[in-house]
């Protein structure tokens, strides 16, 4: 990574509690434009919450969040909706719209925010479904898909609008190794070909290391280590060491 690249996302001393549960306790994190940052951490440590704060779906109690030079915790809701269009988010549970066909799920943002003709939209949907290896599923309902297929449709939906920043919440969890490898390849491909900035949240080390430019580790509501894959593997931090080595 070139050091004088500009930051596209920044968290500054972000705190978030749910009643007594103090999830984020002063999170600081900056992300370069065009890089793929992998966030590792134990289940329940606040990885999904971090992504939702970035999308303005959850507001932090304290702290500032910058996207593309704009501080987003104070902007009016209306502006937030346009800021969100910079992002594509793959939700942990896919979150497909169950009342809509696969094609309408993938085309959702296109229908909402563009004036593209129906024919163009059908083309884009087709291309995105091919991209995730699900050609021909346009007419199916989400309830007719397997978990892994849903995840891939959700990925196609997140990418259809060609966002500047992709957020992946556990993109490979619960998938077979072959599909997982395909998805990891997809994440690398989007970064390489479209220059998209990506944040990948995971607790699967192998997956994480295979896509990362940099890796950050969250524990107790803070980033306790951030750096290249080698730096993380050679970290002296006790938690990072245990996390990487696994139990035993």
């Amino acid at each position: 990574m070139n050091k004088d690249q500009r930051y596209i996302i920044g968290f500054q001393d972000v705190h978030k509690s749910f009643e007594e549960n103090h999830v984020l306790q002063g999170l600081n994190l900056s992300i370069f434009e065009g890089e793929t940052l992998v966030i590792l951490g134990r289940s329940g440590c606040g990885k999904s919450v971090t992504l939702k704060i970035l999308l303005g779906l959850i507001y932090p109690d304290v702290g500032q969040v910058f996207v593309d030079g704009e501080e987003i915790t104070q902007v009016p809701e209306k502006r937030m909706f346009s800021i969100r269009q910079k992002f594509g988010m793959l939700f942990q549970g896919s979150a497909l719209f169950d009342s809509m066909k696969v094609k309408d799920n993938v085309a959702f943002a296109l229908h909402e925010h563009t004036k593209k003709s129906e024919k163009e939209i059908i083309d884009i949907v087709k291309r995105n479904l091919e991209f995730v290896d699900l050609a021909g599923t346009e007419e199916l309902m989400p309830s007719e898909l397997s978990g892994g297929m849903r995840k891939r449709v959700a990925l196609a939906r997140a990418m259809a609008y060609q966002p500047k920043i992709m957020l992946y919440d556990e993109p490979t969890t619960g998938l077979d190794p072959i599909t997982a490898t395909t998805i990891n390849a997809l994440i690398r491909k989007t970064q390489r070909e479209l220059g998209v900035t990506s944040i990948v949240v995971t607790h699967e080390l192998e997956s994480g290391f295979s896509v990362a430019n940099r890796v950050a580790v969250i524990s107790e509501g803070k980033i306790i280590e951030i750096g290249s894959i080698d730096e993380i593997k050679n970290s002296q931090n006790e938690f990072v060491k245990t996390f990487i080595a696994g139990p035993k």
Binding site: L57, F81, R84, M89, A95, L96, F97, D98, S99, A109
Partner: protein, 268 residues
């Protein structure tokens, strides 16, 4: 002499009550905000005409049969009951008056709205509630679309248009039910029945009969969307929200019916 523990205990109770009151105010604020947004968003782009038409169709079709049945049987029963009762006073001929006035002023709007609250309102809460607990609402926002505009506003206008129409259909069905009984078992001729109906109804009745479903429609839509958007705690939470939605809507319908009736009687 009450000791310090006594005061502490009362203090705890007071604190709890303040806490509950705060929650109530928060809900009231959220509810009013949703109501306001449902209206304001109707006038801003995008207009979601297609979604509105789909909702109007689904609300109309989902409720038509049950509205017809409810209103029809109400008309039949009312004519039967009042026919025999009024015969005692020799006023049997005026069954049409009683049936039409009570239907248009009261029973038509209230019964139709209750049926729609039970059928459409519950459906809306269940749908939005399950979208909420499965993160579909978050996904919609993440895709840059305002769910209040896309889901609540469209349903708001659809119900507000459809409920008065359903009410008119219900009123007509009920009055027709009264006619069936009057002709078949009370020995009243059809032309006479219609004459008593037309004589009985005043402009005020029609006004009251249309203001009510209009207000009830906004209530049902706002309550059911609000319960959906605030549902949490998985499928169980959605079930509870659905029940709450129907209960709250029904109570508000009765309460508002009372207020509107009182208001109309005081101005006329």
């Amino acid at each position: 002499m009450p000791d310090s523990e006594y005061y502490l205990k009362n203090w705890d109770i007071l604190k709890k009550q303040l806490e509950d009151f705060k929650k109530f105010l928060i809900h009231l604020h959220g509810f009013s905000e949703l109501f306001g947004h449902s209206i304001v968003y109707l006038f801003t782009r995008p207009f979601y005409l297609r979604d509105i038409l789909v909702q109007m169709h689904s609300i109309g079709v989902r409720s038509l049969v049950i509205v017809l049945l409810t209103a029809g049987f109400t008309g039949l029963v009312m004519a039967l009951q009042s026919g025999y009762e009024m015969a005692v006073y020799g006023a049997k001929m005026y069954v049409g008056t009683l049936v039409s006035v009570s239907l248009v002023r009261e029973l038509g709007p209230v019964l139709t709205s209750l049926v729609v609250a039970g059928r459409v309102g519950a459906g809306i809460t269940a749908e939005i509630g399950s979208m909420n607990v499965t993160e579909q609402i978050d996904a919609m926002r993440a895709l840059g679309t305002n769910p209040v505009k896309k889901l609540a506003s469209t349903r708001f206008i659809a119900i507000t248009i459809m409920l008065p129409i359903l009410t008119i259909i219900g009123d007509a069905t009920g009055i027709f039910g009264g006619l069936v009984i009057s002709v078949s078992s009370l020995g009243i001729s059809a032309p006479f029945y219609w004459m008593t109906v037309l004589r009985a109804l005043t402009l005020n009745d029609f006004l009251a009969g249309l203001i009510k479903p209009f207000v009830f429609a906004m209530t049902i839509s706002t309550v059911s969307c609000y319960m959906g958007f605030t549902a949490k705690g998985g499928t169980k939470g959605v079930g509870e929200a659905t029940t709450r939605s129907v209960v709250v809507s029904s109570i508000l319908i009765f309460f508002l019916d009372f207020l509107i009736t009182k208001f109309i009687l005081s101005v006329s």
